[in-house]
Amino acid sequence: MTGIDTAPPLAGSANHPPRRRRRLPAETGAVIALAVLVALLGWLSPSFLKPASLLSVLGQAALPGLLAIGIVFVLASRQIDISAGAVFHLAATIAALLMVAGTNPWLAALAGVAAGAGLGLINGLLVIALRLPALLVTLGTWWMIQGLSLVVGNGQTIAPPGLDGLAALSGNMFAIVPVTGIILVVLAMAMHVVLHRTRFGYRVQAVGSNPQAAAHAGIPTGNIRALTLVLMGAMAGLAGVIHIGVQGAVAPGDSGTFAPLAIAAAIIGGTPLSGGSGSVIGAAIGMLVLQTILSAMTLLGVDAIWAAFATGALIVLALAVDRLIRLWRERRTGYHRDDPLA
């Protein structure tokens, strides 16, 4: 289509050229929070600033961090998956049992990831078929999957004998960098590119921004919703398999707080609950923030009875700071959503 010439120029109709402003990236809040926390903790307890202990935080962040990567895609498509922690546990249990039964550990690991993706697919199919919000579907399946891993694992710790190469996951590279941490960093960067530079990522954000408009523009919204849940399941399965490699065993209750941790990390990292955008790198940084808070508890010797409460309070604080930064940014750009929950 070429240009059109219709309206005659009228008095006073010169355009005000809109000014370009530099926009802060979505991860700003998380980066600032991490820097402040590390500085504060280093000041309170200088031993924390040693590279080894900093990198161990990275190692701790790896497993829930993988879940956070998956949850970013789910949140960006305006859904939520609270069954991720349970999927993690069931995938780990299945992989461990296969190893106990004598399957090749790598094959068993692959089966664990596939089991995670399969559980995600069940979530996705339920969402499409029943037209139910993912929150309700995963609320139900969370319970089912949790129960299932108790049944399958018989409520006991499963420690597979020969782990072979998988055991390398518990080690370090270059002496101090945990292998799991490297996996997190590489996957976060790769998935960040997937979210922002591929057709799949584009569709995820489009569906999350306005599902009606997306459907109207011919974007296959159902497939995209299901695919994000499959991806979430696969990431949870992968995390579960790595968990076996690191710990050498899977115990009941191992995944306890993973799902809420992952969701909190994604939100701290700049992914809104209302969908439409997301930052995978931000979620990884958000998970580092959370793990720093958790290790601060032990490092500063907070009474174990109070640790859970203090952690929760700090997470609320982190969310509040992030929210305030966001409001400030919106005031600068002059556009804000009507949605009060955005």
Binding site: M1, T2, N210, A217, I219
Partner: protein, 512 residues
């Protein structure tokens, strides 16, 4: 102080980021008068209304209400002053019943409980005056868009405001409803209420206004009493109206009619539709006229793959039948542009992102990657071609209503559509953008699309279309073309399903 104006604005300014919405705006509304604010989309009408409603805060300037300087920093403050507002994007609660919407936040209490009885009693008269015959206990989403808009107006009136702000109150109303509304507003003016009336429909505005202010790019360029308007000033305002419908472009005169690809519909039925048959060729604009319930919506939904037809056959220019879903429709270059708000836009995403909706989002061929750089180039091109006043990086929600609609059209133009289904594509937007959109529709036809246009504004159909199909209760009632295209005749056809001479005369008078 009783002779001071009810509201006066001096040097009011408002910026959104880098975009200037209002700049040095002055406005004086006299007591007991209707003050119309006219201007193109993006001129600042809605910002003005939202500012007086306490939703946006001005960056500078003085607001005097009732002779005293005031700050309206919240909707509560506006309500306290006695400012009632009817906004373009209403805060309506679709799942709640009509009554709950009418009395939101001022529910009458009886022994500490909300009194439904009193709500009914207090709203009954007003609803009758406005001519809404609805079940007040039905949820709002059961109502037609026009009825919803009237509910919104009724809600503002129930607060007994001293100053009523109406931002484009008649965009979803039909002619009869507009007449009712105008009668009610005149009655209120007689009882001393003052009103600010911002609208895109110039004729209605001129008919009702006592005073008139033209704003352009956030400044007031003319402010006068209605009867003092000189002919040249009226002509200046009228520029908005003139040449609304561009001359037809004929691009394919040499091709034989039979050879041109066409869409043919044979005996289509389903929903309210039954036995609909017609053909439309590339290069022509075929109008579809009909009231609510005439089946045009179903016809469009069927052609766009949203509904399965119960019977009948459709053959598209590419040789296939109806698409199975919207994704298939988009991939086969069948596009649907609707005036329904919220159906086409991702307001929080950038214009560049929105323009990639179909090219990247719907298609599954081409690159698997999404390149933001390419998207920005694409957006820059369309912004230039369609005169959208913004930059590719701005969120689409920051555009005016007309600009938003242009973005929706532009994203479909990107794929080079074969069949274009237009469902009131210019509803609720200003005259300037309307003109540009009409020119675009002409251009689509000239460049070889099959264009089907549905509109409730009959003048839009007669002005733009080569021929018009009239629908009545799911059936094709008749077809008019060429010299016969006349609003009165069309109105009769869609109202009764038959062209009778008697009805024709009557309708002509009322349409004039």
């Amino acid at each position: 102080m009783s002779d001071s104006p009810i509201l006066s604005l001096r040097n009011t300014a408002k910026r959104f980021g880098g975009t200037v919405a209002l700049e040095d705006l002055n406005l004086v509304i006299e007591r007991g008068s209707i003050h119309a604010v006219v201007g193109e989309s993006g001129a600042g009408k809605s910002t003005l209304a939202r500012m007086l409603a306490g939703i946006v805060r001005p960056d500078g300037g003085i607001i005097e209400f009732d002779g005293k300087p005031v700050t309206i920093d919240s909707p509560q403050a506006a309500r306290k002053l006695g400012v009632g507002v009817v906004l373009q994007h209403p805060g309506l609660f679709m799942e709640r019943p009509v009554l709950a919407n009418l009395f939101i936040n001022r529910e009458p209490l009886h022994n500490g409980l909300v009194s439904r009885h009193e709500m009914e009693a207090r709203s009954r008269d007003l609803l009758r005056q406005l001519g809404i015959a609805i079940d007040v206990h039905a949820p709002l989403h059961d109502l037609a868009p026009g009825e919803r808009q009237l509910v919104m107006i009724a809600r503002a009136l129930l607060g007994n405001p001293r100053l009523l702000i109406l931002d484009d109150p008649n965009s979803a109303l039909d002619q009869r409803q507009v007449e009712r509304l105008v009668a009610v507003l005149r009655g209120l003016r007689a009882r001393g209420m003052s009103m600010l009336y911002a609208s895109n429909r110039l004729e209605d505005t001129l008919a009702i206004a006592d005073q008139l202010t033209v704003i352009r790019n956030g400044r007031d360029v003319l402010s006068k009493a209605r009867q003092d308007l000189t002919a040249s000033e009226e002509a200046m305002i009228g520029q908005l109206r003139q040449s609304l419908f561009p001359l037809p472009l004929r691009a394919l005169p040499t091709l034989g009619g039979a050879l041109r690809p066409q869409i043919s519909v044979t005996g289509l039925g389903g929903g309210t539709l039954s036995g609909v048959s017609f053909t439309a060729r590339t290069g022509e604009i075929v109008g579809l006229a009909g009231r609510a319930g005439s089946g045009i919506r179903e016809l469009f939904a069927t052609l766009f793959g949203q509904r399965r037809p119960r019977e009948g056959k459709v053959r598209f220019p590419d040789g296939d039948g109806v698409p199975r879903n919207r994704t298939e429709a988009a991939r086969r270059n069948i596009c649907m542009i609707s005036g329904e708000r919220g159906h086409g836009l991702m307001p929080d995403k950038s214009i560049a992102f929105n323009l990639a909706n179909v090219v990247v989002g719907a298609r599954d061929w081409g690159s698997r990657w999404y390149s933001p750089g390419l998207a920005v180039d694409r957006a820059a091109r369309q912004i230039e071609a369609l005169r959208i006043r913004s930059t590719p990086q701005m969120p689409a929600g920051s555009l005016s209503a007309g600009g938003q609609q242009k973005v929706i059209i532009a994203k479909w133009l990107e794929i080079g559509p074969q069949v274009v289904l237009l469902d009131e594509p210019a509803r609720g937007i200003d005259i300037g953008s309307k003109q540009e959109i009409y020119a675009l529709i002409r251009q689509m036809a000239a460049s070889g699309c099959v264009v089907l246009l549905h509109s409730n504004e009959l003048s839009e159909l007669t002005g733009l279309c080569d021929r018009i199909l009239a629908f009545h209760q799911g059936r094709l009632a008749g077809e008019i073309a060429g010299e016969d295209m006349d609003i009165g005749m069309l109105a009769t056809l869609i109202a009764s399903g038959q062209p009778t001479d008697e009805g024709l005369r009557g309708k002509r008078e009322s349409a004039a």
